[in-house]
C-alpha cells in the first residue's frame, strides 16, 4: 500500500504549525522556539512536517509527480529527525514521520533519490558500510584489545561498533574504551572483525527493501550466536536493532542496549566505579535515534473505526517520543565525580537534531553543518565546556561545526567521559 496507507494520517493535518516548534509548554524565551531544522533553514512551508504531509496528499492525488527536482530537494533536505512527529503528537493522534518515510520510499521506487545515496546503497548491498568515504579497515580498531570475535566464539554480549566508528580512525578510541570498560567489568564481550552494517540509515533514506533485507540477513546470523545482549554506541545502529528490526518483524532474542544504558546499569550495580574526578561542565545532546526515535516499536494492525472520531480498532497506541532513552545517559553523567551537567533549552524529546541524519550529511553537507552550528551555539549558550553525546554521526559533525565556527567547545562520546573517570 505504501503511501496510500497513510492517507488518513496526512489528511488529518490541520495546518497548525506545531510541528515547526518545540512543544510550546516548554519554551522559556524567544530563542530556541524552532524544532525543525528543515523549515528553519529553507523557510517555505513545504519543508515542515505539515508541509510534507500536504505534498504527500498531492502526490496521492496525482497533482504532483515524483520526478520533480524540486520535490527531491524538499524531500531530502530533511534529517528525518522526527521532532515534527513529537511536537504534532503533543496534541494530535496521527502519524507524521511514517508518511514522510513512505514518501521517501516512493521517491526511491520512482528513481528520484539523490545519486549520492544510491552509491551508499550499492555499498550496503555489496556487504560494505553505508559511507561515502572512509574505509579504514574492519576490525583493525580492536587488534590490540584481546577481545573475542563473536563470529568464532560464543559470547554473552555483542559489541556492535557501527560503520561510522569502524571506518573512521578518529572514532576508534571510543570503541576501544568501550571494550576496555566492559573488560574491566568482566563482561564476556565479543566483536566481529567483519561486522555487518545495520542498514538502518537505508530506511531513513527511503530504501526500505534494502534495509529490511539487511535486517533479515543480520538477524539470521546474530540470532544463531545465542548472545544475551547487543550493545552499540551508535544511535542509528541502536534504532536499527531495537526499533526497526522489530518493525520488520525480525526482532532478536536478545536485549539491545545503547552504551549509555549498558554502562549506566553497570555503574548502578557497582560493577564499574567512576572514581576519578572529571572537572567539566557538560551538556548532553540527545541523538534523535536514541532519544525520541529510540522508544520501542509498538506493533499495531487494525483500522480506523468509521464515524466522526479518529479512533481505531483495536485501539492504537501512538509512539510519541515519550519512552525514548533520556534518563540513562543523564544518570551516567551524574555518577561521574566532579562533572556538572547542564541542559540545553531543547533537550530530550525536543532536542534539536545534530544535522547529519536522513542522508543530509551526504547530500547537503552545507545544510548539515548549518544545523550542527545551531546546536553548537545552543550548547555554548549553556556555558558548558563540552557537548557529550552518544552517536558518532553527531560527534563528527559537531567537531566540524566547532572547528568552522572557532568555538572552544569540546565534544565527547559518553563512553569517553566514563573512561576518564573509570579506567
Amino acid at each position: 500500500m505504501g503511501l496510500e496507507e497513510f492517507r488518513d494520517d496526512m489528511t488529518t493535518c490541520c495546518r497548525c504549525s506545531a510541528c515547526k516548534f518545540v512543544p510550546l509548554e516548554t519554551l522559556k524565551g524567544y530563542d530556541h522556539v524552532n524544532i525543525c531544522p528543515s523549515i528553519s533553514r529553507f523557510d517555505y512551508r513545504a519543508f515542515s512536517g505539515g508541509g510534507r504531509l500536504g505534498i504527500g496528499v498531492a502526490l496521492l492525488d496525482k497533482q504532483l509527480d515524483y520526478s520533480s527536482p524540486k520535490l527531491r530537494e524538499i524531500i531530502y533536505n530533511c534529517q528525518m529527525c522526527g521532532a515534527c512527529d513529537v511536537s504534532c503528537k503533543y496534541a494530535m493522534d496521527m502519524e507524521v514521520l511514517e508518511p514522510m518515510n513512505a514518501i521517501r520510499s516512493e521517491m526511491v521506487k520512482h528513481g528520484n533519490a539523490p545519486p549520492a545515496l544510491d552509491k551508499m546503497i550499492t555499498s550496503l548491498k555489496n556487504g560494505g558500510p553505508m559511507l561515502l568515504e572512509g574505509n579504514a579497515g574492519q576490525g583493525e580498531w580492536a587488534s590490540k584489545l584481546g577481545v573475542k570475535d563473536y563470529t568464532k566464539q560464543s559470547v554473552q554480549v555483542i559489541y556492535h561498533a557501527g560503520c561510522r566508528t569502524r571506518h573512521d580512525k578518529t572514532r576508534w578510541a571510543v570503541a576501544q574504551q568501550t571494550v576496555k570498560l566492559m573488560q574491566k567489568a568482566n563482561i564476556d564481550v565479543g566483536i566481529a572483525m567483519d561486522e555487518p552494517c545495520c542498514g538502518g540509515r537505508a530506511y531513513q533514506m527511503g530504501y526500505q527493501t534494502e534495509a529490511a533485507d539487511k535486517a533479515r540477513s543480520n538477524m539470521e546470523s546474530i540470532n544463531k550466536l545465542g548472545a544475551k545482549t547487543l550493545v552499540t554506541g551508535c544511535a542509528e545502529c541502536y534504532f536499527a536493532f531495537k526499533v526497526l528490526y522489530d518493525k520488520f518483524g525480525v526482532k532478536g532474542d536478545f536485549e539491545v542496549l545503547h552504551t549509555s544504558e549498558f554502562f549506566n546499569r553497570l555503574v548502578q550495580q557497582g560493577k564499574l566505579k567512576p572514581t576519578k574526578k572529571v572537572n567539566l561542565t557538560v551538556t548532553y545532546h540527545d541523538p534523535c535515534h536514541l532519544g525520541r526515535q529510540g522508544e520501542p516499536y509498538i506493533h499495531w494492525k487494525g483500522q480506523r473505526v468509521p464515524g466522526q472520531l479518529i479512533i481505531f480498532d483495536p485501539p492504537k497506541e501512538f509512539r510519541r517520543g515519550t519512552k525514548g532513552v533520556y534518563e540513562p545517559p543523564r544518570e551516567l553523567l551524574q555518577s561521574i565525580p566532579g562533572l556538572k551537567l547542564v541542559e540545553m533549552d531543547r533537550h530530550k524529546e525536543f532536542a534539536w537534531c545534530c544535522g547529519s541524519g536522513g542522508g543530509v550529511i551526504e547530500t547537503n553537507p552545507e545544510y548539515a553543518l548549518w544545523t550542527a552550528t545551531e546546536r553548537i551555539n545552543e550548547a555554548a549558550s549553556t556555558k558548558a565546556e563540552a557537548v557529550v553525546t552518544g552517536c558518532p554521526g553527531c560527534e563528527s559533525l559537531f567537531e566540524t561545526a566547532i572547528r568552522k565556527n572557532n568555538k572552544n567547545l569540546k565534544v565527547y562520546d559518553i563512553v569517553e567521559i566514563l573512561a576518564m573517570a573509570t579506567l
Binding site: 517555505y44 464515524g307 519512552k323
Partner: protein, 516 residues
C-alpha cells in the same frame, strides 16, 4: 494563470531567488487545506508564487508590483486558518515568517512591539521573565503574537489580558497600494504607546469587527499591551511530551472548573467573579473541552468525557486565580469560594483534588497550548467559530440557541457527538463575553453540506433574535447578509476597502471586496 517571466523576475529581483518560488511542490504545500472549516476538497486554489519578504521595503515593492501587474497578494503570519488561502488564480502569497523579531518590550509602559512572525509563546516567555504577560489567541500560542494579525484574539487570558482590538497600540501598516503608514503615536512621535494618536488613527477603519483577514494590506509591526504576571519568571516542567507537569508555578495559583445548576447561576457567578476582579482567567469550559484538553489521546478523551458527563452540567466555568502576594491570594480564594457557595458552583474534583492534573491544566491554559487537542485531535477538522462578542449573557444565550442546531447535526451523525454543550468566555472582568461551539467533523460532502446548513441557521438565529454580528462573519456573502440589519455597515466597510485598495490587490475574499 501563471506568472510570466517578466513578472516572476520582477518579484525575484526584490527578494532574491532563494525567497520566491512558483514550483508546484512548494505551491501545493501552501494550498493543503486548513483544518478550520475544512471542505471536502483537499486543496485550495494554488497561489501563483510564494514570496518570503524580510523587510518593509521588500513588502512595499511587492505590493506595488502586484498592483502594477493586476495581481492580488495575500499576507500570512503562521498561515493556519482558511482565510490565508487564495480563492482564485492570480494571487501571490507573502509568507511573513522571516519577519519574526520582538522589537521591544517596554516594561515601564507595559507594551511590546512585534513583527508578525513572532508567535505568542515567544512573546509570553520573554514577558514572564520581566513579570509581565500578554494576551494569547484562544487558538493557541502557536499563533502570531501580533494583536492585529490573527482574529479577534479572545482566549483563555482575556479576563485579565483583554483581546486584540483593545490591546492593539501603535501599528505599522503597508497599505494595499504599498504606502507605509504609521498609526497612533508612532505616526507623530515615533513611539509605540498609543494606537489612537497623537497622529493618525485608523484603528477602527482597518480593523473592522474581526481584522481584515489579509484583505487590507500588510501589518508589519504592532505594539500590544502587556499585563502583570503573578507567576514565576519561567516555568519548570517535569515529564516528557505529551504529559508535562509544571513544578514551579508557586502556591499563589489556584484552578477550578465549576459546574452550575443552570444558566442563571453560571451567569451570576461570571458577573460576581468579574466584579470582584479576582480571576486571572475565567472562561466557559464545558465537558468536551475539559476532556480533550486533559487527555493525551482520543481514546483517553472518550473515557474522560464519559466521566465528566456525569459530573458536569452544560453550564461550567474554568477559573484561575493568581495572587500577587500570599494575602492577595488568600483574599481572592475566599471570595471565589463564597461566590461558588452563593451560586451553587460544584468544583470538578478531577481538578481540585489532583494536584498533578491541576498543575498540568493550569499551565496548559496559562500558556494555551492544548486548543489543538481540543478542536482538532478528534477529527482533524473544526468549525465551531460561530460565536459572537457582546454582553456575556447575550452571547451565552446565542450559543445555547445555536447549540440546538448543533444537536440536530449530531442526531444526523454529521459531526462528533460531544453532547453539544455551549461555552462562553468572559472578557476584562466585565459584562463582556464571547460564545462559541466546539464542532468537530470529518470533511466529506454530506458533513460539509450539513456544516453549511448549520452556518446558515446560526446566521438566521443571530439576525432574527438580535444577537448581533458574530465573529465568523467575513466575506462578501456574510457581510451582505448582516449589513442590512446593522446600519448597512457593509457599505461603509466596502468604501473603506475601496478607498485604500482601489485595484482590489489585497485579496479580500475573506474580508470584503470592492464589488458594488
Amino acid at each position: 494563470m501563471t506568472l510570466n517571466k517578466e513578472q516572476y523576475t520582477a518579484f525575484e529581483d526584490i527578494v532574491g531567488p532563494e525567497y520566491i518560488s512558483s514550483d508546484p511542490a512548494i505551491l501545493f504545500s501552501y494550498s493543503w487545506r486548513s483544518g478550520l472549516y475544512a471542505p471536502p476538497q483537499d486543496f485550495s486554489p494554488l497561489f501563483e508564487a510564494i514570496i518570503l519578504p524580510h523587510t518593509n521595503e521588500e513588502i512595499q515593492a511587492i505590493v506595488k508590483l502586484s498592483n502594477k501587474f493586476k495581481l492580488q497578494f495575500k499576507a500570512s503570519s503562521t498561515g493556519w486558518g482558511p482565510y490565508n488561502d487564495a480563492t482564485a488564480p492570480g494571487c501571490v502569497k507573502l509568507d511573513l515568517r522571516r519577519m519574526n523579531r520582538i522589537i521591544e518590550i517596554n516594561v515601564k509602559n507595559m507594551y511590546a512591539v512585534v513583527e508578525p512572525g513572532v508567535i505568542g509563546t515567544q512573546l509570553q516567555a520573554e514577558c514572564m521573565k520581566l513579570g509581565l504577560n500578554c494576551n494569547q489567541n484562544g487558538a493557541g500560542t502557536n499563533c502570531s503574537a501580533s494583536p492585529i494579525v490573527g482574529h479577534c484574539g479572545f482566549g483563555h487570558l482575556s479576563q485579565s489580558g483583554s483581546y486584540g482590538e483593545r490591546n492593539q497600540l501603535a501599528l505599522e501598516w503597508i497599505t494595499p497600494e504599498g504606502e507605509l503608514v504609521c498609526f497612533g503615536s508612532l505616526g507623530s512621535t515615533g513611539a509605540w504607546f498609543c494606537g489612537d494618536g497623537p497622529g493618525p488613527s485608523l484603528r477602527g477603519a482597518v480593523r473592522g469587527n474581526v481584522v481584515p483577514m489579509g484583505g487590507l494590506g500588510v501589518f508589519t509591526k504592532a505594539a500590544t499591551k502587556l499585563y502583570h504576571w503573578p507567576g514565576p519568571t519561567s516555568v519548570e516542567l517535569e515529564g516528557v511530551s505529551p504529559s508535562y507537569v509544571p513544578t514551579s508555578i508557586d502556591n499563589h495559583f489556584l484552578i477550578r472548573i465549576y459546574s452550575f445548576p443552570d444558566m442563571e447561576m453560571m451567569d451570576q457567578a461570571q458577573r460576581k467573579i468579574g466584579e470582584a476582579e479576582i480571576a486571572y482567567e475565567l472562561m466557559g469550559f464545558n465537558k468536551g473541552m475539559a476532556a480533550s484538553n486533559i487527555a493525551t489521546s482520543n481514546e483517553e478523551m472518550l473515557k474522560l468525557h464519559a466521566e465528566f458527563s456525569n459530573l458536569l452540567t452544560d453550564f461550567c466555568l474554568m477559573v484561575i486565580i493568581g495572587g500577587y502576594s500570599a494575602r492577595d491570594f488568600e483574599y481572592k480564594t475566599k471570595v471565589l469560594n463564597q461566590i461558588a457557595i452563593d451560586t451553587q458552583g460544584k468544583s470538578l474534583t478531577k481538578i481540585s483534588d489532583d494536584p498533578e492534573v491541576a498543575a498540568g491544566c493550569m499551565w496548559r491554559w496559562l500558556r494555551p497550548t492544548a486548543s489543538i487537542r481540543e478542536v482538532f485531535r478528534a477529527t482533524g477538522c473544526f468549525a465551531g467559530e460561530v460565536g459572537g462578542t457582546d454582553v456575556f449573557r447575550l452571547m451565552a444565550d446565542y450559543i445555547v440557541e445555536t447549540a440546538k442546531v448543533k444537536q440536530k447535526m449530531i442526531n444526523d451523525k454529521l459531526i462528533f457527538d460531544d453532547g453539544a454543550p455551549p461555552f462562553t468566555q468572559s472578557i476584562e472582568h466585565g459584562h463582556y463575553g464571547h460564545g462559541e461551539l466546539l464542532i468537530r467533523y470529518i470533511p466529506n460532502p454530506s458533513n460539509w453540506a450539513g456544516m453549511m446548513d448549520f452556518m446558515a441557521k446560526a446566521n438566521e438565529i443571530a439576525i432574527k433574535q438580535h444577537f448581533g454580528v458574530p465573529g465568523h462573519v467575513f466575506s462578501d456573502m456574510q457581510h451582505d447578509i448582516y449589513g442590512p440589519h446593522v446600519m448597512n455597515y457593509h457599505k461603509w466597510l466596502r468604501k473603506i476597502k475601496k478607498s485604500f485598495d482601489p485595484n482590489g490587490a489585497s485579496e479580500g475574499s475573506h474580508h470584503i471586496t470592492v464589488k458594488e
